[in-house]
Point group: C2
Chain length 358, copies 2
């Protein structure tokens, strides 16, 4: 196929959660069809897609089917097995972003090393294969570290604080002795994020810097543009550009940042996909992160990223979604619900955006 | 079922064109599933719907299936057979708007009579069953009339100008002697439209008055709010309220109006559905006409109708859509493409909205 993809082409997506659902809605607005491959038959993106493949990610037959249906294939989930992307590429499929972006994002040690090499500073860190490594890390990084498994874990799972040498053995056991990374504490005053896109032509577009608030490791709230961020925004943008260019990236990427007490920006991690800290763009920007991602992978020019108004986004986690009727009655609230059946604790069920107009 | 419908409920839609597609996208944002019934297997709304029924509108088995899948059923197409709506109601389905709204809108004579009775003035008109009626109409209405078949016809088809008594016989033959309505010429200076919604609680919300331009009977362009319409808007709103209340309507309705040389507003016709003159709301309003319709039929409170910015909408008709790549590169253009295969002459393939920001 040739890029830009003409309307009527099919966008394949690995993963079927709310990000896939919102990508599918954006693709539909541009006249594309969508094919979703997910192992979960109840995934909400399936119900807005032209083509639905329910299968494990590494099922060869399913991947061949997806490759044959799709003119380009992308991800809505960063823990898609890299092997699945490689199998698609081997079958001749156009895959964006590259499988390498998945591989880097899936290993916290590789990711932090990559970020530093790309010119996006991070906290100090140390690989941990055994208790001796962890003790060395404590010695090198100031006596207190955050120990994280290299792979897996999300929303605060798979990590533990190590308060000193005396805790090293127990801490390593708490993570089941898995291959890990020890990180120096980030002395941050706030968390920020930047949503950036890179097109097939190498053009880059960034949305304004967003401030984020987490609770129990789960994003709860964002405010965009981040207050008092005029001085930080160009630096955040430069870090995002370094990351995108170093990866030869095509698509939207979410880069999470810390602002430290002395005003330094540190990269925490990146997600090779649309990101919860960019949901506000769907209500505040002419072209939102979902359409931007579709534009990028389809080889279209990137759209404008200037917001029409400042925006606050609140996630609806678990039982928060029970307030849907009150939210629907609030004329200032734009309500997004993800079409998930069970409002389990900690599960992202929807979000609400409020614009500051006038 | 009880209203308001909880997220996760299913909205049934009769018809599968671009209006159904945009309704389905709006429903998905609110966490609803959609079931589409259409006789056309290639219809674009099918490809974004959870449930797809391809069948004639009056197929009993298909209607039963739709009724069983859906918590409420609506239309995206005003020429759905009234019988289909009645069969659904007989099967116990909740249908909105009422079948009566379809019945009125499908017969130009009934529609004009209804509009007048509801308090929305129209041009003078006369029923025409034979040539004698047409001659009487010419005598009563000023010697020149627009003759339209009572049923069918759209985009300028099924109508003919009758220039005088001498043309009466030929004109009646041009419409194949069908039961018709003769209308006095509307001495209008411009065409306007108002998109209005009525909720299950009887609340009414109107978007700003829109000015529209047609060519060959097809809508080409709208500007919203209509220029210099501050004095007209309350009258247009009152007319829409009369129509909605007279029909006990639930959902969004498009009311087409003429502004005459002396500043009078005349109702031309109404569409018991979302309407092309309201597409701009998708880019300019927090809650657009599609979400508003879903909110209304689902028993949710209506959303705000105040635009964030003035908007111009241009339809992409037939080969106009070939400009998609240029339009995608225009940062001021919001591009909507409908997912239709063949760009046949006169076919609505997409539209573009431009906001006047700042």
């Amino acid at each position: 196929v040739g890029f830009p993809l003409a309307p009527g082409a099919t966008i394949g997506i690995l993963g079927g959660g709310q990000l896939g659902r919102m990508l599918a809605l954006a693709a539909a607005r541009l006249g594309f069809d969508v094919a979703i491959l997910t192992p979960e038959p109840d995934d909400p993106a399936l119900r807005v897609a032209a083509h639905r493949i329910v299968s494990p990610y590494e099922d060869h037959e399913a991947l061949v089917k997806l490759a044959e249906l799709s003119d380009v294939i992308t991800y809505e989930f960063e823990n898609v097995p890299v092997l699945a992307a490689e199998m698609l590429i081997a079958h001749g499929a156009a895959v964006a972003p590259k499988a390498e972006a998945l591989a880097v994002a899936q290993d916290r040690l590789v990711e932090k090393s990559f970020l530093n090499a790309a010119g996006a500073a991070t906290v100090g860190f140390h690989p941990v294969h055994d208790v001796a490594d962890l003790k060395q890390a404590l010695a090198d990084l100031g006596g207190r570290v955050l120990l994280k498994t290299r792979r897996g874990g999300y929303d605060g799972k798979g990590q533990t604080w190590v308060e000193g040498i005396d805790d090293a053995e127990a801490a390593f056991a708490r993570l089941d002795g898995r291959s890990s990374i020890a990180e120096a504490p980030a002395d941050f005053v706030r968390e920020l994020a930047v949503i950036a896109a890179r097109g097939r032509d190498g053009a880059i577009a960034c949305y304004p810097l967003t401030q984020s608030w987490h609770q129990d490791g789960i994003l709860r709230r964002t405010v965009s543009p981040a207050p008092d961020s005029d001085g930080l925004a160009p630096r955040a943008r430069a870090m995002a550009e370094h990351v995108l260019n170093a990866l030869g990236y095509v698509g939207v990427l979410g880069l999470e940042l810390f602002e430290t007490r002395d005003g330094t920006l540190l990269a925490n991690e990146f997600a090779p996909r649309v990101h919860n800290t960019g949901h506000w763009t769907a209500d505040a920007c002419a072209v939102d992160q979902f359409e931007q991602h579709i534009r990028a992978v389809a080889g279209w020019p990137l759209g404008p990223t200037e917001p029409l108004a400042p925006a606050e986004m609140i996630n609806l986690i678990g039982a928060d979604v029970d307030a849907w009727a009150d939210l629907a009655a609030d004329p200032a609230a734009r309500v997004w619900l993800y079409g998930k059946d069970e409002a389990r604790a900690g599960r992202k069920m929807g979000h609400v955006t409020r614009l500051s107009v006038g």
